[in-house]
């Protein structure tokens, strides 16, 4: 028997159960659920804010081989795309390898380095981590040194010039590489620019990007 509103939920039903908690909201049911026998609730489903991993940058970092578990971390990538959709819950839906399934083509982006006479292109799908990407960029532009927050102390500056990796995102803003989880970055990156450190000297962050905090 369907309700007259089709797929909309009523506030309560005939049995007097409280369905407020099951009302479609942007989040999961909060703590105010009452059991059907009206008895004391032992526990509750977790509230929305506890479940959603809002600190998106707090992701597992590369191990020494530059591997991370990249796919399926629920982040707000799609939320950014479709306004009004709910923020995501970590590990839900339980699907592995989404990143590979959803891809329709490989993701080549231009890479510009200040001072280089020509640009290069890299396929972001080839990488799973920032470390892999930066290493690859270093290979491509081997005479330069890319500022690497991860190994800041170990970096050798070949010719004394450091470059800061930045990228242009879908909104057209120039962002520092490394603040968001890799997958989110790969989705929104349109082009990459390695900026000469002198330009960014004043802008160099005191707080390194989150992905580099753990080594």
């Amino acid at each position: 028997m369907s309700s007259e509103n089709g797929k909309r939920l009523p506030e309560t039903d005939a049995a007097g159960l409280n369905y407020e908690a099951t009302e479609l909201t942007l989040g999961l049911p909060g703590k105010s659920r009452v059991t059907s026998d009206g008895g004391a609730r032992v526990g509750s489903k977790r509230g929305f804010s506890e479940t959603v991993d809002l600190s998106l940058g707090e992701k597992k970092d590369s191990n020494k081989l530059g591997q991370t578990q990249t796919q399926s971390q629920i982040d707000a990538r799609e939320a950014a795309k479709s306004p009004g959709s709910k923020a995501q819950v970590v590990g839900w839906p339980p699907v592995r390898g989404y990143a590979k399934r959803g891809k329709k083509s490989c993701k080549y982006v231009k890479v510009a380095v200040d001072g280089a006479p020509y640009l290069r292109k890299v396929d972001l799908d080839m990488y799973n981590t920032y470390q892999q990407l930066l290493t690859s960029l270093e290979d491509m532009f081997s005479c330069f040194t890319i500022r690497n927050f991860l190994n800041e102390k170990k970096m050798e500056q070949v010719n004394g010039i450091e470059y800061v990796p930045t990228y242009e995102d879908k909104d057209g803003d120039w962002m520092l590489v490394g603040d968001v989880p890799w997958q989110m970055f790969a989705e929104s990156c349109k082009r990459i620019r390695l900026m000469k450190n002198t330009e960014t000297a004043e802008l160099a962050p005191r707080t390194p990007p989150k992905w580099s905090r753990r080594s």
Partner: protein
């Protein structure tokens, strides 16, 4: 009477018993059977690599030739486990190498496999034949190169869904000219380029090659050449399938495919131009397995037309862009269907109504042999589940994932207790169940009552109280793996029957109500369990008070006590 037979006779009889569960039973009959069985055991399966040590493995089964190991808990697939949690294979390889075991086959799932491990395998085990890695990580093309170069009798290299750093390095060209023994080569999950010439030569000199799964970088013209050289293939994974249907390349491909009369399994299409699907129609009639779950480019009419050619299909993996109507086509075409997996093509999309309960009902009505299901959908109703349960009483695996994890029946607004209840009551052979949607304690009452064969249960965002978990622990006698997230189960449920956990492989509970004190109690009462607390917050101190709720707990039975390789984020009580 059997005791008076010489050992060789018993050993010969035991040779016919290959399933490891049966062999375990055989070994329990009496001391002499135990002795004979252990010396003749060649294949060993270890479901949790931390439940036993390599030394004890070898002590019991000195003749082991094939080893299967599983590492990380299942929820690691969904990023709920820290990447450095554990599951390293290297200690196993080291011990096997040092004790002179003649390892021939290694099958690993969710383990960390270093290049060092692969190199050690390739240089130590002279007769090594088969490497199967599923959902592993930690290795690069260098490790693969070592395997290719040094394993002279390699028959199988099967890489499934691994995270491999292969953007530098050519491993395929490391197979020597003398390597002609390949039967199975699967590198579909690799992202990098391979040496196409080396691939063609390798396939040319592998007359026994039956299974070949290519990655995205292998273009169409190479595919055509490979098929011309290997018309005996039984299992094919296509990499790139982009061509103009009217071109010469397309005609050559059609000709090559038509020669492959033995192909029964088809997958891949990682890059695809769907106009060209007609070239493969000639082989569709023989297919028993079709995996299009990595091919979002094939949808709509092209997809349904393709499926209409596949009348013998037994296993189908697809994306939900097939839609309910497309599932209707499956239902009317694939009468032999046993396993269906429908994956989300847009898991985080808002309101993309790809498949619903209607598609599932259609398939259940048209495919009575259906026994294994993984179904990601927008919504489900009790009525649909009850119908499915009636149509398909043979389910062994039933995994339903409603993309909104707490969505009730949209028609009645009721929880889905009755629907899942019908499934467990009807499907008496059900071994694996995953629940989703709005669920109360009631569904667990049904599961405890009816799911007598249940071995694995996955629960998320369900139940109202500890009663739910208790119904399951008390009722499901054959339960081996229980994984729970975001449910209101607390210490009362956890501590009710701690002995039960010794009869299971493992228990995972995250974002529930269990506290540190509760976990400590389990650990104290059951020294045969490792109780691990995983704490990934920036808080590095574990000075939490016992009343503190535990974010993630993973406990498992073990014969070898606490493991020594846990990272900082894991605390073993």
């Amino acid at each position: 009477m059997m005791n008076y037979f010489p050992d060789e006779v018993l050993e010969h009889v035991f040779d016919f018993i290959t399933c490891h569960k049966d062999r375990n039973s055989v070994s329990l009959v009496c001391k002499s059977w135990h002795r004979i069985e252990r010396y003749s055991r060649r294949r060993v399966f270890i479901g949790n690599c931390y439940s036993i040590s390599p030394e004890r493995l070898i002590a019991r089964f000195p003749g082991v030739k094939s080893l299967t190991l599983k590492g990380k808990p299942h929820f690691a697939d969904f990023n709920l486990v820290p990447y450095d949690w554990g599951g390293f294979v290297y200690p196993w390889i080291k011990v096997l190498a040092e004790t002179g075991i003649g390892l021939e086959e290694l099958r690993l799932k969710r383990m960390v496999v270093s290049d060092e491990s692969l190199e050690l395998i390739s240089k130590t085990f002279v007769n090594f034949q088969s490497l199967v890695l599923v959902s592993c990580d930690g290795f690069s093309a260098d490790g693969l190169a070592a395997i290719a170069a040094n394993c002279r009798f390699l028959r199988e290299l099967d890489l499934q869904e691994n995270e491999v750093d292969d953007h530098r390095g050519h491993w395929l060209s490391c197979f020597p000219e003398s390597c002609t023994s390949l039967v199975s080569l699967n590198f579909a999950c690799l992202k990098g380029e391979v040496n196409l010439g080396a691939l063609e030569r390798l396939v040319s000199r592998s007359p026994n090659l039956k299974s070949l799964r290519l990655n995205r970088s292998v273009p169409l013209d190479t595919l055509q050449k490979l098929l011309m050289r290997a018309p005996q293939l039984v299992d094919l994974g296509i990499g790139s399938y982009v061509h103009d249907p009217s071109s010469e390349a397309s005609n050559k491909l059609k000709h090559a495919i038509q020669r492959c009369k033995s192909i029964m399994s088809l997958s891949g299409f990682l890059e695809v131009a769907p106009r060209c699907m007609s070239a493969i129609y000639p082989i569709c009639g023989n297919l028993t397995t079709l995996n299009l779950s990595y091919a979002p480019g094939i949808h709509g009419n092209k997809l349904t037309k393709l499926i209409q050619h596949c009348r013998k299909l037994q296993r189908l993996w697809i994306l939900d862009c097939i839609g309910d109507k497309g599932l209707g086509v499956v239902a009317s075409t694939c009468k032999e269907l046993q396993e269906l997996r429908v994956f989300p093509s847009d898991p985080f999309g808002a309101g993309n109504d790809a498949v619903t309960e209607e598609g599932l009902v259609l398939v259940s009505a048209g495919c009575p042999k259906l026994n294994s299901l993984l179904y990601f959908c927008q919504q489900m109703t009790n009525a649909a589940l009850i119908t499915v349960a009636k149509n398909c009483p043979n389910f062994i695996r039933f995994r339903l994932c409603i993309l909104d994890p707490v969505r009730p029946d949209p028609v009645t607004n009721q929880p889905l207790d009755e629907g899942f209840g019908a499934i467990v009551q009807s499907c008496k052979r059900l071994k694996r169940l995953s629940l989703s949607g709005l669920l109360t304690d009631q569904v667990f009452l049904y599961i405890g009552m009816y799911a007598e064969q249940l071995e694995m249960l996955s629960i998320a965002f369900a139940a109202d109280s500890d009663k739910g978990m208790l119904y399951v622990l008390n009722g499901c006698k054959k339960l081996r793996k229980l994984e729970i997230r975001d449910c209101p189960f607390g210490n009362a449920a956890l501590l009710e029957d701690v002995g039960k956990y010794e009869t299971m492989r493992s228990l995972w509970m995250s974002s529930c109500e269990v506290t540190l004190g509760g976990c400590k109690t389990v650990a104290e009462m059951m020294p045969s369990l490792n109780v691990e607390i995983i704490n990934e917050s920036d808080q590095t101190e574990f000075n939490l008070d016992d009343g503190q709720k535990v974010d993630k707990m993973y406990l498992y039975r073990t014969l070898v006590g606490h493991r020594k390789d846990a990272p900082e984020s894991v605390w073993i009580l």
